[in-house]
Symmetry: D3
Subunit: 341 residues, 6 copies
Amino acid sequence: MSKKIVSFGEIMLRLNPPGYLRIQQTDSFMASYAGGEANVAVSLANYGESAAFVTMVPANDIGQSAINSLRHWGVDVSFIVKGGERLGVYFVEKGASQRASKVIYDRKHSSVAESSFNDFDWNAIFNDADWFHFTGITPALSDNMADLCLEVCKMAKKKGITVSCDLNYRKNLWSREKAKGVMSAIMPFVDVVIGNEEDAYDVFGFKAGDTNVIDGKLNRDGYRDVAHMITDSFGCSKVAFTLRESISANDNNWAGMLFDGNDCYFSKKYPIHIVDRVGGGDSFSGALIYALHNNFPSDQAIEFAVAASCLKHTIEYDFNHVTLDEVRNLMGGDGSGRVQR
Amino acid sequence: MSKKIVSFGEIMLRLNPPGYLRIQQTDSFMASYAGGEANVAVSLANYGESAAFVTMVPANDIGQSAINSLRHWGVDVSFIVKGGERLGVYFVEKGASQRASKVIYDRKHSSVAESSFNDFDWNAIFNDADWFHFTGITPALSDNMADLCLEVCKMAKKKGITVSCDLNYRKNLWSREKAKGVMSAIMPFVDVVIGNEEDAYDVFGFKAGDTNVIDGKLNRDGYRDVAHMITDSFGCSKVAFTLRESISANDNNWAGMLFDGNDCYFSKKYPIHIVDRVGGGDSFSGALIYALHNNFPSDQAIEFAVAASCLKHTIEYDFNHVTLDEVRNLMGGDGSGRVQR
Amino acid sequence: MSKKIVSFGEIMLRLNPPGYLRIQQTDSFMASYAGGEANVAVSLANYGESAAFVTMVPANDIGQSAINSLRHWGVDVSFIVKGGERLGVYFVEKGASQRASKVIYDRKHSSVAESSFNDFDWNAIFNDADWFHFTGITPALSDNMADLCLEVCKMAKKKGITVSCDLNYRKNLWSREKAKGVMSAIMPFVDVVIGNEEDAYDVFGFKAGDTNVIDGKLNRDGYRDVAHMITDSFGCSKVAFTLRESISANDNNWAGMLFDGNDCYFSKKYPIHIVDRVGGGDSFSGALIYALHNNFPSDQAIEFAVAASCLKHTIEYDFNHVTLDEVRNLMGGDGSGRVQR
Amino acid sequence: MSKKIVSFGEIMLRLNPPGYLRIQQTDSFMASYAGGEANVAVSLANYGESAAFVTMVPANDIGQSAINSLRHWGVDVSFIVKGGERLGVYFVEKGASQRASKVIYDRKHSSVAESSFNDFDWNAIFNDADWFHFTGITPALSDNMADLCLEVCKMAKKKGITVSCDLNYRKNLWSREKAKGVMSAIMPFVDVVIGNEEDAYDVFGFKAGDTNVIDGKLNRDGYRDVAHMITDSFGCSKVAFTLRESISANDNNWAGMLFDGNDCYFSKKYPIHIVDRVGGGDSFSGALIYALHNNFPSDQAIEFAVAASCLKHTIEYDFNHVTLDEVRNLMGGDGSGRVQR
Amino acid sequence: MSKKIVSFGEIMLRLNPPGYLRIQQTDSFMASYAGGEANVAVSLANYGESAAFVTMVPANDIGQSAINSLRHWGVDVSFIVKGGERLGVYFVEKGASQRASKVIYDRKHSSVAESSFNDFDWNAIFNDADWFHFTGITPALSDNMADLCLEVCKMAKKKGITVSCDLNYRKNLWSREKAKGVMSAIMPFVDVVIGNEEDAYDVFGFKAGDTNVIDGKLNRDGYRDVAHMITDSFGCSKVAFTLRESISANDNNWAGMLFDGNDCYFSKKYPIHIVDRVGGGDSFSGALIYALHNNFPSDQAIEFAVAASCLKHTIEYDFNHVTLDEVRNLMGGDGSGRVQR
Amino acid sequence: MSKKIVSFGEIMLRLNPPGYLRIQQTDSFMASYAGGEANVAVSLANYGESAAFVTMVPANDIGQSAINSLRHWGVDVSFIVKGGERLGVYFVEKGASQRASKVIYDRKHSSVAESSFNDFDWNAIFNDADWFHFTGITPALSDNMADLCLEVCKMAKKKGITVSCDLNYRKNLWSREKAKGVMSAIMPFVDVVIGNEEDAYDVFGFKAGDTNVIDGKLNRDGYRDVAHMITDSFGCSKVAFTLRESISANDNNWAGMLFDGNDCYFSKKYPIHIVDRVGGGDSFSGALIYALHNNFPSDQAIEFAVAASCLKHTIEYDFNHVTLDEVRNLMGGDGSGRVQR
């Protein structure tokens, strides 16, 4: 059995109206539990990895439900600590056509945001582990979390554990200035950097030439430059980007790039008719980590990550539930969606 | 605070099966309350206008529910009268691909159709008002309603209140001959005429050249001619058209034109992936009235009305619930539907 | 009144998660009852034919519910026999974009699979009938069923009843070798052969040139050849094919071909935005049988069958519920999906 | 096979909020189709009788759905005529504890209320029939219906067909005076009269002593007197009453009485925890007619009718779906509700 | 028109699983908006009073939905202020039999809890008002709120506005000591004090003899003493208590007492089969305020309040939606729950 | 940490209509996964025990969903084997009042029924275990299962593992004769025997005097005798019975008895208003095993088991989800169901 992959971050109660109803129209919410790093842990468990997710949740039914939802999909929850006052909540409204999807966060004062390094038994957590993953959301939650992330990354590095970080810049959590400061301190302990088409600019000011995210045109060459800027600046060994072209809230094109320190590998581009795109980036991270953890060649790794996350866009809620066979089938060229009997 | 906008007409119980089920397949109906002029009132209240809707509903839970649903969205319901025997009902079946959406009306004998001018306190209603809106559906409901509409329009005109009318021809309510007679008498008191690609021909016999509504091709030049025919014949000051190209029940193109007495302004054309198109025309009227009431220049007025009603096609049920910011964002060119966090 | 059309086969409990949920995600299933030949019977009753469906169901609430669901849509259920131990079940998961729809069968040991020729009163069943329909699924269910199908087809032939068969090869029910043996023995008693783009090859090894079903490209010329191979080999009088191009799980192109012994008639091709494609082929069979039973000219027959089955793709669940008017309207060229009021 | 039982009356669309929601609270309605005589027809088909229901429904999807729902449960719908303008609608709000259930009717101008005797082919309808059933609701719908009921009862009498009538007085349909006049003219052609604890007084002014329906106390002796008054006045051969004691909207006691011209038979009394009590009286009529049609002795007939209708109170919607075995089991004394595996 | 009744407090998003599901079992929540004082405002608007509710909600869709839900039921929302960071959330799990209902609060840091006196325009709010209502929950939310309540009560007193307070002790919001201190300072400005069977003890240490709330036995005499203690200590003019006997989570007995300064009036006691008991106490306050505002004699006032709140227990969610006629009917003795047609 | 408790048996897909709908009425089923021994495993994990459930499920999404549902609640699923052809299905229809709940099984040919001893790694399974539980359903499934149960019990005995067995006689799985033969051979290896009021008679012919399960009267003295008969015949050390009095499908009384070899301990009797009683007996077993595993004194053990299983009757679906605190609170006398905030 391969070694354990640990991820740390916030898991929240996700509430979304059924179908395409707006939040103001609904009198019920579909309830699920999700978060950037939790989504990655579920992807990894789904592909058969030993995946542990670490967080703090309140000692009530909402906190326990979050734990149950991870357990349901095979994630190791034995390091989750109970305490603090609340589980963060976020509301998702599914967009359609020209109407954008909308996410409203109510995550302040969450148990994990107010926890700190010593609340967790990191030696036990890292026992038998060889990979640690987190996202840029976590250090943005609070100063406690910024400190914790730095400490944990240092500790992981010391133990020879590979560290991956999805930049995931969120403007309503912190300013670009704050983000740059905190993240620049952490980056030297990160091996694999993941981001979307805007993150590198938002966090570090690295710009991929003239890409305009509104009109959906991507400047692929620019991404090579950004990848180099990141590895040059922080010494990370690998950089991966998701490349999204937004045609409408229903239709996106989706691709990715992996820079492995030597070359840049661009994946095929998939036109996607979207079911639920929240968690799409996390499913890319989860699949990429799986691929790298299993030593896929770079070209296969990026194709695997993009195919897996392409399929995620057809899955309701944040977690990705697609099989290795389904991903491989799509990588192999069958995107026809013909009935499987 | 700007002055009150009054609309008068029928509000009905709308029943539709969930999702794409046909009426014969369903064992439940989603219930909402809507009607041409009520939809406009909700749009106006939504944009912050003081909007009063006037009608008669039966003195039972169904009538009260219709009132509550308007109150919910901020419409002034203080002039709604209770009486008569029933609230009209209509059944909506959502189409898909080549299968058309279907509307079955059961609206005869409704409270409002059997009410008359003296059932309402028009002086109180028009106090502080500067705009009156109705649609061609209302005079089609009954002779009572035809008389009432004429009287109310005359009274509004006398009080210096702007009158707008969405022609909204419904072949199952009256013949073209009847419509032409009644509407021709009312038109001289109407300032702003609104219609879709077929109304002007159905009601007045004005034809926009060789447009074929089935194959979705529009003859834009022809619409200029029709606008002129209307202003020339009846002395209306403004004419606006919605321009719909039906590709399938899921996909339509959507644009509009405003003739302000001097020039014709055509809006951008939006390709729409439809969630619910019933009430689309009313959302155009509501947004256009808002724009004109707030003295938008003609080119901005038509762009606002088309962008707002484009977005309506992504909203379930008849009422439009989009924010001024969302409309302005789309007018400004962002139809990418990217997640708003 | 025209004569009765009889179909025989399995009806199962179909369970599918709501919307696009995967089976592993759902905590409820939508329940309906369906099966290849039952679907055809419902189509025929829907168009006004006298349609009897024959099967065996267990003597419990699940078996009775299957009967009720057929009765609901006007199918004659008076020849259905109660007995055996279970009703087959199948689970349907709706695909989207690159994620394929998935069908899981749990149909072994069903009442009908374990029934045999003498369980049914074939003389009564065929009284007043002039058409018998079955699919290649039925003889694949069990040796009993293979025997029964052969006996029934012989008997039908003797009585001058037209026999139609939809090849419907299912690889998880039998091997190609077994299928070829059984079906080749039955074919001489079949008048009308129906199949999709793969069936003729899977069952008989007849290949339509270089058609590649994965990339959705069809070789129409090849189908002529296959039709000739079938009529030449077995003496069938007519052969019809559905021609599906799979763009994604949401979007397919759909057309058909009818070879009437003299000429091949290809229908228009429809781009379809799919609601539920399971049962699509059966709706083609049902409509084709209706057209042939009512002596439509060959070109009209194939256009009718393809238009009807195009519309089926917009209907939830297996059964097709579209009116003759809706089919004729689409055949006549109106696929614009404009609201019908 | 025993002879056909015909019932005639109105079938409506029943709309009720889910669970205990009030009408003003709901945004969806459960949809079913029901009516006094239709409910009886479904009960009879359910017990294996040949049961035909006759009515007029509009030629649209709502009318067809009403037909389908009868067909679903095995009722012969071949004499239902299509025409007129609408299907009546009624709204049911389920009460609880001290809050009463509430029914709002929107049934005026229905197709059947505006139909008349000659719209139906009575000779065909009565072919092979030996029983005709209707309720006091039907002649209350319109003068047309009052005339039709009288004519049909006369015709049935002439053909030697047994006629049963459930008095079913509805104060919002007609006054006591009108009811008395119309019903007194029809009664001489009725063999079996059915009523609840108030009907005989409301329609004919026959009073069962000092029964007070509000406090749920019943004066059983008084019912004997009322039964005699009815048979003495109109020459009916049998009179049956349902005896309901209302403890709350959730809990009722339920019993019945049958006067067979010689003796009065009172059934056991059942305490019922209610699921849905609408249609309870109709299920009594249906079961009583079944019992009499099958020549049950009077004591068994009333026990059968009361046990069957007791069970109906545990079934959602108007129709009764309980098996002969379930009724017999309850008659035999097992009301323990132990799980049946 | 009578004068305006103002209430102030917190409105929250209420989330409850459907039916009897536990929180850990559900994957959806029913969403409504409620709070002690908001519930009272809805009751008052429901009875036709002019009722204004004052609070602060965040400027997002959740805050707006709370406003809409009040507007829906006719509450004046024009004094609600937008600001702060979040709307409180509470989770309700419906109990059954011996399993208690459960409420989990996530209300810290809510917009209103962090607002203060100067955020509201009290002179405008109290214009035309003659009654002010709040509950003991509000000063428990934060020191800000404790200060605000004291200031507002003083101001109301000065303006001659009647002040009512429902003690509503919540042990998870503050200690008994803190509550006693804060509430004792406010009480001198309160005219009408309302409480349940435990509040007076929890807040002030006033004890009604040997009542044991667990076994559901009430010592009615003791309540007289407590009422006197309250009026004697603080100079309040009226004291009212709800008297609940808990038999199980499904079945409670319910009564009330009003001390009007002279005499104690005990209401009838109602056995209730519960649909939703959350908000039961608030519906008592709302009805009592209505009765006192309309000068009902004391015996009628307490009967009205108890009957209205008895009926509330049959209504889903916190708000009470029963008509004056329904309350009067129950006061008049009809609790039989017979169908109202 | 205490040692592991192992249970072995079948887990099935449970399908039940929503609410009180009958199977023939529903068009959807709620889906859960359950089975006698699986239910016990979930109870044990719920109380904090290390609980492993062993079975075979098919290698498809239905089998995986069964595993996920156990994992969700903390059960160790690492010994579940994939193979065989199907997961058993059972349909549950919830009864009400006099209408009994109904269970229809479709479980033949399930993966586990066709598995055998060598399909499982019993040495690994029993590593670190000190308790093994199974029910009389499992050996009834097939001869394979009867053999397996005997072998496993022998092996457990040899390893010094305590063995418990819930007799759970199911007449549709085997005859009393077959049951007696198989179970009599296994009993000598069983330490703790559990049964309901009928099992001992059905399986072994041991009769508790004149108890009549239909009228709900229990002869408690008789149960002492039966307990002695069991221990005398087979050498078991403890015997426990659930004692159910069925008043109706909604209302049952519930108690239990434990004979610990020395004395008989009868628990309190609880009147229960039922939410879902399927799995009630299993929740008794689960709680009793927990109590015995934790060395509760006999009187506390039976009170714990009865209180826990009383509460189960208020939980939807088979699994019991109540906390240790909730059980202790009820044992302590608080069955008032008062809201817990």
